[in-house]
């Protein structure tokens, strides 16, 4: 058995096959969409072609951009906060056994709770506006990042840590040289989940109580029963979320999964 050759082929093949698979999946989904559109009728569910055409028109209409910017801003800030707070919490709790034991169940409990119920409280605390949306997006995203980082740091093989200690590494060197690289694949999973949930949280926040942003636009369109706008926005969001998630997956595979 030629081990190195086998390794090389494993590294290349699934990636290539992955692309054709993804393409096939996209075609499949579009076909299902088109099929449903035929069955339900274009008045209620526009076909892929109509939706894409309308999306193009939406993207060129000036009234659309302020909403997109508003959502992008809220999402960006929420994501930044989620990542920074999540990683910090994860490392802190992962490296300190007692603190981890103390707070992990609390994080798990909050993770499992339907957070939308907490939104009114956030609204009362932060008032209507971008701050509440950011806070809502952040509480969605921060917990998976913290939990995955915590688990990854805690599960780092003890022998690696011993090696570091024998070499006399400082805490900072320990984190950057051993803990972070060893934990990175799992942290990436947490980041991917955190990304998705932050987006969902931000949009939900806008849907429930906001006067601006894509979530507000979506709610408005639902109220007016404007299926074209609903489908175009959903399509854009799915496209964005799908591409971002795929990109993060690709980064993870490319850099951190040493197959």
């Amino acid at each position: 058995m030629s081990v190195p050759m086998k390794d090389g082929s494993i590294k290349r093949r699934p990636l290539k096959r992955g692309w054709t698979d993804t393409l096939l999946l996209v075609v499949l989904l579009l076909a299902v969409w088109q099929g449903l559109a035929w069955v339900i009728g274009a008045a209620e569910l526009p076909s892929p072609f109509t939706t894409i055409a309308f999306t193009g028109r939406l993207l060129t209409s000036p009234s659309f951009w302020p909403h997109l910017l508003e959502t992008a801003k809220a999402f960006g800030v929420a994501l930044l906060l989620s990542v920074v707070i999540g990683l910090a919490t994860g490392f802190l709790l992962g490296m300190n056994r007692f603190a981890g034991d103390l707070l992990e169940p609390v994080l798990v409990a909050v993770y499992s709770v339907p957070k939308i119920t907490l939104y009114p409280i956030l609204l009362l605390l932060f008032g209507l506006g971008i701050a509440a949306k950011v806070a809502f997006g952040t509480i969605h995203g921060v917990i998976p990042i913290a939990l995955f980082t915590l688990a990854a740091v805690r599960n780092t093989r003890p022998v690696l840590l011993k090696t570091g200690r024998v070499m006399g590494l400082s805490t900072r060197e320990m984190i950057s040289g051993i803990l972070l690289p060893a934990a990175m694949p799992e942290i990436f999973t947490g980041l991917r989940l955190g990304f998705s949930l932050t987006l969902i949280g931000t949009l939900l926040g806008e849907m429930f109580a906001s006067q601006r942003g894509l979530g507000f636009m979506l709610m408005n369109a639902i109220g007016l029963h404007n299926v074209d706008v609903i489908m175009a926005l959903t399509f854009l969001l799915v496209l964005f979320a799908g591409c971002a998630s795929g990109f993060l997956l690709y980064l993870n595979r490319r850099f951190y999964q040493h197959v």
């Binding site: 698979d21 007692f98 993770y111 339907p114 939308i116 799908g242 998630s245 795929g246």
Partner: protein
């Protein structure tokens, strides 16, 4: 009890006490938050009064239904996908990006498809939950040692017997993990849908109370939802842990 558990209880008690003091002292005004003892009293009054029992039953009943649907469909789909690796590979990117998609955007479409009743809400809860069930169950099925499947063949078990007697029991801890996620996602889906666009259910009542500054209804309902979801989650986690311990995995 473990030291961490005691400390955790202490910490939570201190947090509640702190809130109580801040509220009573007026640092947090009554329009923002009620003192915790008030929430407890209101919750008892609410449950005893029975005015919201219909909403509570509706939401929890729908959530239970969504969980059952998601578990049955999800486990069956996972077993099928596990036997069809090429199809599974095709759907993999879909599963990987599924939770990045804001599912509530499809709600209007579901209303068109299923009408205005509870069905679209149950559907959204089940839709959110089912992929978590599939992914977790598949994870469990992947970890079944090959030698156990060989043993099944040596014992000449049919595919059905293999599933019931080997595959599913072996993956049981992962399926329980899936159930935990299913409960969480179903509640998120259903309460979220009620929140945004419904005229009944706990989510709607919370949202209604919020717009009417009715904190005496809003906070108890929030606490009730949190308590139910945490309680169910804890129970399933206990069970899962017991299975893991029995197998020497925890």
């Amino acid at each position: 009890m473990k030291r961490a558990t005691l400390w955790r209880i202490g910490l939570l008690a201190a947090a509640v006490a702190g809130l109580e003091i801040l509220c009573l002292a007026g640092a947090i005004d009554r329009l923002t938050m009620q003192p915790p003892h008030r929430m407890a009293v209101d919750l008892v009054r609410l449950l005893a009064g029975g005015a919201l029992n219909a909403a509570i039953l509706k939401t929890l009943g729908n959530a239970a239904l969504a969980v059952v649907i998601a578990m049955v469909v999800g486990v069956a789909a996972a077993v099928a996908l596990h036997r069809l690796p090429s199809f599974r590979r095709l759907l993999d990117p879909l599963f990987a990006t599924y939770y990045a998609v804001p599912m509530f955007a499809f709600y209007p479409l579901l209303v068109v498809l299923f009408g205005l009743g509870d069905t679209p809400q149950i559907f959204i809860g089940a839709m959110l939950a089912v992929v978590a069930v599939i992914v977790n169950t598949l994870n469990g099925l992947d970890r079944i040692p090959k030698v156990l499947l060989k043993t099944a063949r040596v014992n000449r078990l049919s595919p059905w017997e293999t599933a019931v007697r080997i595959t599913l029991p072996c993956a049981a801890p992962y399926i329980l993990g899936a159930a935990k996620l299913a409960v969480a996602y179903a509640l998120i889906g259903i309460i979220g849908a009620e929140f945004i666009m419904s005229t009944s259910g706990m989510g709607y009542e919370i949202s209604y109370a919020y717009t009417n500054f009715d904190n005496a209804t809003m906070y108890p309902l929030i606490i009730l939802i949190l308590a139910v979801s945490i309680a169910v989650n804890t129970l399933l986690a206990r069970w899962e842990r017991a299975l893991m311990v029995r197998r020497g995995l925890a």
